[in-house]
Amino acid sequence: MSPTVNLLVRNGLTNKGRTILTMMVIAVAVVSFSLLQTAVRSYYLGVEASAPDRLVTRHKVSLYFELPMAYRDRIQQIAGVESVTYANWFGGYYQDPKNFFAQFAVGDSYLDLYPEYLISPDEKKAFLSERKACVVGEKLARRYGWKVGDQIVLKGTIYDGDWEFVVRGIFSGRDRTTDTTPMFFRWDYLNEWVKAHRGHDSDIGWYILDIGDPGAAPKISQEIDALYADSTAQTITETEKAFQMSFVSMTGSIIVAIEVISFMVVVIVLLVMANTMMMTARERVAQYGVMKTLGFQGARLSVVVTGEAIVIALIGATAGILAAYPVIAFFGAFLEMNMGSFFPVFELGPQTVAQAIGLCVLCGLLAAVFPLLTALRTPIASALRKVN
């Protein structure tokens, strides 16, 4: 081992208690940071997983307002639109209000437009041929122990009453990021209820368009919205990503708060490390003086001073990452099962790991600034007098 590296390591071990405590603070901070960042990333995963060749047309005012069914045929005729389907938010729960998950009444071709939902042809056929049929994602099925053929009853909140369904299919996700916590049922079933209870056909929550060429999205969006610019139900057509983002932005302030807190944790690490390194600097003034006497200059001295801070930061960060995996797996299992619509995939990603380690190294570097300046600026004679 080179003498410089040897000194760096030995210095780090001088005050074991303080070094270990500092590393523990860093480790705890890294776990917190990773957990919060994973939550943020998971929350945005739906947006990232959006298909570029799908557009969504909704009411210009808000999703609360619906669009006429008559729009479907006209949208279908727009050049570049390959197919159109539609969906409505149902908003029910299973047995108890706390058993909430996403349910959508969807048009017949809905599953055709979402190839990321993997379902067998037989199950798909069964879904399309039965009025009360529904398909559920595998995480949702696992959460409630549902199997194909099970009869389930949901309590409607927007559409009052008990709603009976038969599980005719369980779909899995093509990608890790595919959300497999929703339930889809036939729009006809919803329309039947609306007609019976409200005396008219149901309107449409939003249309989903397959446009084939993502490059045509702006032109098609403009054309559709212009088509209904003078109607009572004006539209806004946007990419699926923008549509998902509008949901995310509804709770955006919470996510921003989480993000801010996660970076506050990093600031705490910085302060703890800076405190440790400042104490270290005071203790090592004479050592720096001796080293300078022997001919050590800025660069070599920097290696010893900043190296110690970085080694402490890296060991703390590594311990934190190792601890973060089981902690996040524990929370992830719970969140994916119970809040899968918000956190479809809750796992520690390489990006978060790199970010946590990078920030710890940065904190180490920043924390070493003061000791380094002390080492470089203190005249040798003054430094040696500290011992004498």
Binding site: S2, R10, L294, F296, A381
Partner: protein
Amino acid sequence: MAEPIIQLKSVKKTYQRDSFLIPVLDGIELTINAGDFDVLMGPSGSGKSTLLNLIGGIDRPTSGEVHVAGTKVSALSESALARWRARHVGFTFQMYHLLPVLSAAQNVELPLALTKLGGAERKKHVDAALGIVGLAHRAKHYPRQLSGGEEQRVAIARAIVSDPPILVADEPTGDLDAKSADEILTLLQRLNKEHGKTIIMVTHDPHAAERGHKIRHLEKGVLR
């Protein structure tokens, strides 16, 4: 005839403490030849250590010139001065200034971090230096496990490990008992005679001073 290795010309050193200017050295003229073992004596505050620091290149004169081993060290930049120190001067201090976190061998090896020597070469040099000071058997011991005399010998080994031509010793026996002090002085004499090191030593002890070739007295910043 021996060549001058250390030359100080009209050297003045003044420290500033707040708004006060404190003159420490006043017009020092000094020549020390290669292979000499010179001793600097004088009362506390007379400027002995300051003079030693100027010769060793760890401080700069306020005015005047310091030439050591053919280099005008008073004109070197900070980094050039550091490189020069590493090659030309070995230091020993009253308080030894060993790094407590490193073993004797690791302390001695430290100056070699500034060289391009590989691990095996460094070890050879460290073993040789510890052998010269008679502490090869204590190589793995830490400073806290050594006596004062042994610590000073390790410090001397560190000072000579990169084979500098000059050793500056600032009261090397000031913190030692008589027996240990005698061993250190004998060692310095050996380094001077057998290894040709030029030594300039500061001491308060007249008996220690007798080991040198020449004794110089410094009073109120002036060499007598």
